[in-house]
Symmetry: C2
Subunit: 908 residues, 2 copies
Amino acid sequence: MKTSPKYVYFFGGGKADGNAAMKNLLGGKGANIAEMVKLGMPVPPGYTITTETCNEFFKNNGKHPPGLKKEANAALARVEEIMNQKFGDPKNPLLFSVRSGARASMPGMMETVLNIGLTTKTIPTLIAKTGNPRFVYDAYRRLIAMYSDVVMEKAAGIEPEEGKGIRARLEALIDKVKKKNGYQTDLDLTAEDWEGLCGQFKNTVKKVLGKPFPDDPMKQLWGSIDAVFQSWFGKRAVSYRRIEKLPDHWGTAVNVQTMVFGNMGDDCATGVAFTRNPATGDNNFYGEWLINAQGEDVVAGIRTPFAINNVSKVSSNKHLPTLEGTMPKLYKQLDRIRRKLDTHYKDMQDIEFTIQNDTLYMLQTRVGKRNGPAAIKMATDMVKQGLISKKMAVSRVRPEQLDELLHPMIDPKAEKVAKKLGGGLPAGPGGAVGKIVLTADKAEELGTKGEKVVLVREETSPEDVHGMKPAQGILTSKGGMTSHAALVARGWGKCCIVGCGDITHVDIKKKTVSFGGRVLKEGDWISMNGTKGAVYEGVLPLITTGPEKTPGFKKLMTWADQIRTLGVRTNADTPEDAKAAIALGAEGIGLTRTEHMFFGDRMWAVREMIMAEDAKGREKALRKLLPMQRKDFYGIFKVMAGRPVTIRLLDPPLHEFVPNEKPAQKEMAARLGVPVKTVTAKVDFLSEFNPMLGHRGCRLGITHSEITAMQSRAIFEAVVKCRKQKIKVSPEIMVPLVGTEAEFIDQKTIIDRVAREVMKKTKVKFKYMVGTMIEVPRAALVADQIALEAEFFSFGTNDMTQMTFGYSRDDAGTFLPDYVERKILPDDPFQSIDRDGVGELMEIGVSRGRAVRKDLKIGICGEHGGEPSSVTFCHQIGLDYVSCSPFRVPIARLAAAQAVLADQKKKK
Amino acid sequence: MKTSPKYVYFFGGGKADGNAAMKNLLGGKGANIAEMVKLGMPVPPGYTITTETCNEFFKNNGKHPPGLKKEANAALARVEEIMNQKFGDPKNPLLFSVRSGARASMPGMMETVLNIGLTTKTIPTLIAKTGNPRFVYDAYRRLIAMYSDVVMEKAAGIEPEEGKGIRARLEALIDKVKKKNGYQTDLDLTAEDWEGLCGQFKNTVKKVLGKPFPDDPMKQLWGSIDAVFQSWFGKRAVSYRRIEKLPDHWGTAVNVQTMVFGNMGDDCATGVAFTRNPATGDNNFYGEWLINAQGEDVVAGIRTPFAINNVSKVSSNKHLPTLEGTMPKLYKQLDRIRRKLDTHYKDMQDIEFTIQNDTLYMLQTRVGKRNGPAAIKMATDMVKQGLISKKMAVSRVRPEQLDELLHPMIDPKAEKVAKKLGGGLPAGPGGAVGKIVLTADKAEELGTKGEKVVLVREETSPEDVHGMKPAQGILTSKGGMTSHAALVARGWGKCCIVGCGDITHVDIKKKTVSFGGRVLKEGDWISMNGTKGAVYEGVLPLITTGPEKTPGFKKLMTWADQIRTLGVRTNADTPEDAKAAIALGAEGIGLTRTEHMFFGDRMWAVREMIMAEDAKGREKALRKLLPMQRKDFYGIFKVMAGRPVTIRLLDPPLHEFVPNEKPAQKEMAARLGVPVKTVTAKVDFLSEFNPMLGHRGCRLGITHSEITAMQSRAIFEAVVKCRKQKIKVSPEIMVPLVGTEAEFIDQKTIIDRVAREVMKKTKVKFKYMVGTMIEVPRAALVADQIALEAEFFSFGTNDMTQMTFGYSRDDAGTFLPDYVERKILPDDPFQSIDRDGVGELMEIGVSRGRAVRKDLKIGICGEHGGEPSSVTFCHQIGLDYVSCSPFRVPIARLAAAQAVLADQKKKK
């Protein structure tokens, strides 16, 4: 015979059947309540019906498993005994709340019913006991509204049209009374008003739903319990689980708990608090409370909550009473509980409490949310306190949170209520606030005067750089994550949003920017969240914390470095970037793009090369670039002082260096001394239908071998210069866009030849590596062929994602946000590596590459290299390093350490 | 002790050590000579030194393996005995030729030395014997020239500057004599002239190469043999083998053979012939000959060769004597040999013969080259004769040869010597000759009058179609294989070349087309080879053979169909195309593109849809398209009469339906009643950086679900119409560009819903399948996820190749031809499936797809579906069918049959 499982877990009076470890069975709420009871804390007694019961309930088509009622009744009796009250007893009635509680928090997805046990028989007693008829009828009307909505309508599967649901109908009745009496808020309603409304509520319920509101307390209780079970398969909960990929078989627990009231008079109160300050991490009790109020009043924003103590005061409540001052004894009791919870859970807790008639009750405890700086401080403080290990501290801070330290951020509270103008691709992180300017010149003019400006353009080009630097942020209506604006901004760590499709028109002449119907003028203020890609109207407050100013940052990073096995390099094109990255912990350069070095004045030599008739003419033009390139590389080598430097040969197609507009073509023709016709013809010839898939990367190096030769020569001559000055150098030359072994061999042959020539000429021997980007899908598939020749791989996951999905990043803005929102894709694959597709190709590339060359060095230099979940993936598939923009280096270091910790946890 | 291998294979006097099966050891030439000897045919005696000897030679650093000389001398003695002459004997000298002979023909890659044995001692005897001093000195100077070049210079590794080689210096001496005496050709030189030149030759050789020309016959012989060995690793031979992927370890054999001369007098002759007519396949002896001439005179084109018999006569030699008439006895002997070779080898042979003093000698036999119609006729004739099996017949015709039947072709002979203007992408097969016209109107005007025109444009658009139809061919300077011109031309089977980068300018105003410096005017004649992608100046002759006119075509195709297991479908967008394809053997439609159905008048409804503000507006516009689409599908279903029809939902991005030019935008604005500004803004909004990777395919169907719904409705309503008329239908709806399971589910949900609606409304039940293109690389990688939902796959290898390589087909013209020429790629991957990359993805897709759905139907509808080696690959990886343009259907049928035969051969 099968023993039936235990369905009901009692808690109360210092005893509990469950504990904090039983989250799967009791849900997060139930398990923590049990734990608090065990710790001797004052918790209103009650019982938790297990998640397994929920599963049984659905297995049996909505019937209770045998034994459930018996167990529940037994637990109820124990509660009655502790409370010395009886459920439904007209003389001394007990009231219950019924709440859901799943393993993971599913905020607002499931149901709650409060004040269960209020009936025509118990109400007079309660009025007599409390002397507060308004309180009692207010509670009663809440019960009727919740019950009729949750139990009688939703759980019964009734789907009324929008605005025709029972809840809306009942709300309308309240509004009628308010209107009639000229009331502003619900607080203005009198006891008589509520009493009248309770009657109207019951009539309406009966009329609309065809059934009366039950006056039987047991019917109320079980109706509510079943409704919570039903809500597990409610529409909202199911679609939430689909999105969050939570399994259906978890089920929900149901918590039946004695009601306590913070709104029964001035010896009552309610509050929410954190065991440490969630904004700074300081080890102070921090919280808000209200006297004579219900829990929801504290968070609803209608009344200004008071600070529980002086350290919790902010400008809005500094004149208002504290709990510490008002109820010093209870505050002390609460503070003791706070300390106990903080050390017991070894993490900052978010707690809810209610004081009913001078008695403190704990309603909930759970791990509290915190911002980045606070997370770091708490984690490092707790190590100092001996509460947690260094490893635990490292795992406590989410890598994304470091972004808050590295860039100014829009205050999340303000952002929640701000007026959003539109969204785009998050090209540069952090927040920015400034006046709209539409030209680079204007941006420079105002920006250098110290005014805060945001440069808004359709797109940017190298000619705009002087205006991009002094701008707070850059916003473009077109372009993708690899557009000029995005690349430049990311390098600088500057806030930038590109491809903002909500900008329907940028009118330079009229000096306006249209977001659909909303037209802003130059000089109007906007705010941007570049981490999320959102644009807001007006000025939003910014929060800034530098890593240096963040207590514990250095310590935490050192611990992370001790744990991680994955190397962290940076993408840097200038000595300045390189310096910044080293300061943030970069161990080398994983990607130096050389194309940026071809703009500015140098563009003229590039254009001369493009217009040359043959290889000789091209060589002549390239000779002008050689000394400049050499200087570029020398500068970077010097800063890197022997750390590895991966230099990618020229990647973009040549048409990026010639102008499309007639006047600029005329200027080019005049300066190079050729007919305009010739320039126009060349521009036409170079233009491409799909530049992303065009004549670029090593394809260019193969058809224009003199470019590869010049760049190699510049690198090697810079190496020699360093060597002569006793500066250590580790150059790694990277061939871009390789898809076949033959392409790589072609380029390597040139590089090796130039190396021999430079060695011979300078009589200096030096070491170097030649490797390739793996970004074309084919390259991953034939990695075993390419690795025969290549000494290192670096995954270019930006392009690989474009080609594997067939998404042009510059164009995907018209459907990708839709895809992510509708969960056709779990994430934007340009943010986080797509494991099934791109990740699969990476794994193929790693295993095939290492199959023929065991010690093949493999890294990643796409933007994914700085995204935490992608860093984890890179660690899992055995890469040697990730490379990311300087401002993401700390994020990568932390993510890499956490990947190791996750491994260790799995192995246990 | 190791027995040393046999190095030398003797042949002559009716006996031979080797035979035709020993090609690997004796080379093709040596093996066939041995076979002819065994068949009792008159072959000048000699011996073959094996390919293994060549390998030994290189293993021993250019030393002969022990025993070789002894074996060779023994064979030489047997030759002397047969000929009753002695090598180097002043009284009765024997002369030898030394020729290379590898397993596979390597035309012109290796060396030959003739007339070996001519020395100061043997020359007088030969003059006395022949009475022909001019003949002897002519032979002597040839020996000196060949020997000094091949043996003394090339094999010695001397690399002179261009034009400074010994051969060029000697030629210059001849030119001097000709100039001095006012001679036109070498034939004008007298015996004295040649004698004098022989002296000068020897002096020059000594002066330039520092060594005298050897007067020792044995030295001449072994010098020549070693030089042939050396030539195996000569520059030309090595690079030829790299290109053709032939291994180095094959080595070459050396054939040492008694010299016979066709130029010793009027009882001498030489000729080349085919055992059957290589142009028609008729079973007639066909060949050319010359009296008193050397073999090279027949092929060199200086003298007009005679026909060997009356059936071989052509206009240029119909008045000249035949061998049959001139030397009837010898002709009869030759004809007997011809019949014997033809039946013995069971294939048409290409033979060389020489008549020396009324004696016939056979010099060579090998399988003869033939054109397509001839190949078909010979193969089917030989089955009738009982010579070969049907399977053998099917394997005898190269599938590409069928192209010659299906399109007019430029005469290959004329093409060889034509003036090439440029090259481009081979977008439409066959040949075309016509006057240049630069506008569609002009093309229509002249074309409908019956004039032959070629429409030359930068690009074509749907507005040009009326001029494309009457043109013989279409030539564009821009665009790729998926450009408008290419798609339209391919559907029609019309000759078309796109992306011809050699066209530097098309000047509509001046009515000129510039190919670099060469400027042609409208009205000038050009010729095009659309199969190869080459453009020529002037009028080249065209050859046309329809499949119906080709004897044996139907029979051969029937046999092929009996053998093949792979299905063959067609890509067809209209009932006309479908009809044509059925006539050519298509078993269904593998791809109906629906985008072509959106042009013309219908474009206005499409534009209305594009300009609509919301889904409702779009639906309204789409309702106009519904009846037209329904008619489209009904027409195709009717023709296909129950054969499967795969219809692909709308694939191209919306910007293809809106005009880029201002005037057209104005027209659009006026017609749709919206401001021009709105149209321009929409066009701007829709424009994409990389349309290939943009908002198209199912991405469009997902963001604009009403398009998917309309197309599905049109399909299903057409199905119902057919069903009501008792017409069988098998519709297969194909979702394009799927990359994730969720995308497919989204579209399938819409399709299934519409199907239910149509069934409910019409009360007609019908079956249909829903499947997807596999063209995005990711789709192949996650095929196991997609196949959970999709009922069939169709590989879109055009797009898959673009994405796997990262090549935009429209842009790759600037580097891809270079890549193929430099063998960075073995083939153009858009022509022939890249097996390592794209092929690997296909295999992954097939195995993962069938892992979750065993009966998953898988086809291919990229252009590769009609390319023979790709068809073989599709067979090998287990596809169910290939689909190609109507004119490639027979090619695919034959290739599919040959793939089965290749399998059977492997298994044996």
